[in-house]
């Protein structure tokens, strides 16, 4: 059953992204009509797969990096659905759901069954740490996607190209506002994740290494988002610079979650 989900989910996410792409670039009526129902179906299937995984292995599926990737893909899809439902901007899905697809693809390829969970991962502090980090990374992903859309539209308009990007994306001001809202959320959630992670770390591990690359990487990401919030609020940083920073923050986050976590970190590996 779990294997079936692992194979099915990336295919369904691919179909979802393809449909959103057809609606965005080719303006296909069928795609415009089908995209939201497919998104709802994908989310439902994904939630079911996470529930099955949680029941089968008797723990929430957030204990390994690739379990976190699948949960993150689902969080991004759900967040985007909420955006589509409550805002008038329904044309940004292609860019956001593409990222969800890649998270799910990586997860499906590398995920392993985790029947046994180490005792240190059963702490409530760990649960809060992971939940807030997961939501924080979802906000980072959304901020990165909106930042990318802003830069695409910015360059199209600067270069006086008035193609599909110009026609379909929301206004620059909307993209900037959505990016900044996501950045603020990301900063707040990362602050919570770091606080609870710190409390949990001191209880779980004797003499933890505060210079661990994972720890430093997370602080760098947190600092970048903190800097964006402060610079925009106090110094009037706007437009392109803010968007570039949000994309840099997203790329460092991915690097921290994958390369640093897998190859360089000592304390953030539990299997």
């Amino acid at each position: 059953m779990i294997n079936a989900f692992n194979y099915t989910l990336p295919i369904i996410y691919f179909a979802l992204v393809w449909t959103y792409g057809k609606a965005f670039f080719a303006d296909k009526l069928w795609a415009k009509r089908a995209k939201t129902p497919i998104l709802i179906g994908t989310i439902a299937l994904h939630l079911l797969s996470l529930a099955v995984r949680a029941i089968t292995f008797r723990h929430p599926p957030v204990t390994t990096i690739f379990e976190i990737f699948t949960a993150l893909a689902c969080s991004v899809a759900v967040t985007y659905y909420v955006i589509e439902l409550y805002s008038k901007h329904k044309e940004t899905g292609y860019f956001i759901l593409n990222i969800a697809f890649f998270f799910q693809l990586a997860s499906s390829i590398f995920i392993k069954d985790t029947p046994e969970v180490p005792e240190i991962l059963r702490s409530p502090f760990f649960g809060t740490h992971v939940s807030s980090a997961l939501l924080g990374y979802a906000a980072i992903t959304i901020a990165g996607a909106y930042g990318l859309m802003y830069l695409m539209l910015y360059h199209e308009m600067k270069a006086t190209r008035f193609g599909v990007i110009y026609k379909k994306l929301p206004t620059l001001e909307t993209l900037e506002r959505m990016t900044f809202t996501s950045v603020t959320l990301a900063f707040s959630l990362l602050s919570i994740a770091i606080f609870f992670g710190f409390v949990w770390l001191n209880r779980a591990i004797a003499n933890p290494n505060y210079f661990d690359p994972k720890f430093i990487g997370t602080i760098v990401i947190w600092a970048i988002y903190g800097f964006i919030v402060i610079a925009k609020t106090l110094s009037g940083w706007r437009g392109r610079k803010v968007m570039i920073l949000s994309i840099v923050g997203f790329l460092i986050s991915i690097f921290s979650m994958t390369i640093i976590n897998i190859f360089f970190s000592r304390f953030h590996k539990f299997y």
Partner: protein, 427 residues
């Protein structure tokens, strides 16, 4: 279909002729009342800067189209200035197709014009109020509105700006979320500046500042668009407050340099600044384009945008024509269904269906030897019920077309046979 369309448009006459046949609402009311008084049952008229069109439901004994043209010319006292040949005449399906094309915006001077549909609606509304739009015109114009609506939702015929001043405003709308919260500075008071200011006001711009070297012209424009006049000498201070700058004056040197804009941005809190330079020669240093968060567009860019949008709109015409053909087929079907014989056949069939249905349900309750009699009696009852309506419908052929259509429609509605006759108008 006894429809006649008489009109004048940018295809048949130049502006100096067309304007002589422009009818205000009051004049339109007068001419519709006049036509009604001389026995024309149904007529609708609308008049815009590019066209005046009169739609008439004709009768066999009606005035010839040349006489109606004469009435239009006389009514405006334009004899000798407007010739009969300046007006066009279309009849039956071609007239209906023309109306649908007008409502869809593909007969307009600006392809895909969106305002025309509202103007056609106003004309129809006026005719309804005066009682000159009956059952036929009601159906015809409702279908025209449907065609106009479908065309705008199912095609891209109205997409993209097709005038330089509107293209400027459209670009601003791609940068800013809500123009109501923004300030615009219009430099100049000429025709292009006037249009841009009018479009900005139409888009409910928050604050609109006007400045011009000749203050008097700025004041006239400001009064027209409810703007605030800024002395030309105060131009630089106003730029700090503006999100949008539109410049259209004749100068031999740049009135705003990159340094001016950079200074303005610093005081502006590095907000996005949108600048349109439609002056010839250019009013604003093109180097401004390279400043971050500043969007500068000149006349060439806007012209390119307009040409590209017109090309895209032109490519949509086949889709629009297909929609019009569909709607026209619907009108033809409806009109055929209102003819006397199909309606009588549909009514007879409807009654016969009820009779047979009820007989089938209850025939076993009768003794076999009585069944033939029951069949005969029920047939007679049905025939007697429908005898009067059929006679009235047949006699109605001598009355006016409008009255005939009303009778036909009433019968169809009362007995619920509209769909029956639509399915098979020849039944």
């Amino acid at each position: 279909m006894n429809l006649l369309c008489i009109g004048i448009s940018h295809y048949t006459a130049p502006l100096d002729i067309r304007e002589k046949l422009w009818f205000s609402s009051e004049e339109t009311s007068q001419i519709l009342s006049l036509l009604k008084s001389i026995g024309i049952g149904e007529c609708v008229m609308f008049s815009t800067c590019n066209r005046t069109e009169l739609y008439v439901l004709t009768e066999n004994n009606m005035l010839p189209s040349e006489e109606i043209k004469g009435i239009l010319i006389t009514q405006k006292s334009a004899e000798g200035k407007v010739q009969l040949s300046d007006l066009f005449t279309l009849s039956a399906g071609e007239a209906a197709r023309h109306l649908f094309r007008v409502a869809a915006g593909i007969d307009s001077m600006v392809l895909g014009d969106v305002q025309i549909l509202a103007q056609v609606k106003e004309g129809f509304q006026l005719a309804t109020e005066l009682g000159t739009a009956g059952i036929f015109m009601n159906r015809l114009f409702q279908l025209a509105f449907r065609a106009g609506k479908r065309v705008r939702t199912e095609t891209e015929i109205g997409d993209g700006a097709v005038s330089v001043s509107y293209a400027a405003v459209e670009l601003a709308e791609k940068i800013f979320d809500d123009l109501n919260k923004k300030s615009a500075l219009v430099i100049g008071a000429g025709e292009t500046a006037d249009l841009a200011a009018t479009h900005l006001r139409g888009k409910k711009i928050g604050k609109l500042f006007i400045t011009n070297r000749t203050q008097e012209h700025a004041e006239q424009l400001a009064a027209k668009v409810q703007g605030t006049v800024i002395p030309f000498s105060n131009l630089f201070n106003t730029i700090y407050d503006a999100d949008i700058v539109i410049s259209s004056i004749e100068v031999n040197r740049f009135i705003l340099t990159a340094t001016d804009i950079q200074r303005a941005l610093k005081r502006h809190g590095n907000k996005t600044l949108f600048i349109i330079d439609i002056g010839v020669p250019r009013n604003i240093d093109p180097e401004v384009k390279n400043i971050e968060n500043v969007f500068l567009y000149d006349l060439d860019t806007l012209n390119l945008m307009v040409e590209e949008n017109l090309r895209k709109r032109g490519a949509e015409i086949p889709k629009v024509e297909a929609i019009i053909t569909e709607v026209l087929a619907e009108l033809t079907h409806w009109y055929s269904s209102l003819e006397v014989n199909p309606t009588i056949t549909a009514l007879t069939q409807f009654m016969e269906n009820i009779r047979q249905e009820e007989l089938a349900k209850n025939i076993n309750r009768f003794d076999p030897k009585d069944r033939e009699l029951v069949e005969l009696v029920t047939k007679r009852i049905i025939n007697k019920i429908i005898h009067a309506p059929i006679v009235n419908l047949r006699n109605g052929q001598e009355t006016s077309l409008t009255e005939r259509l009303q009778r036909m429609s009433a019968i169809q509605k009362l007995f619920g046979i509209a769909n029956l006759s639509k399915e098979d108008p020849n039944a």
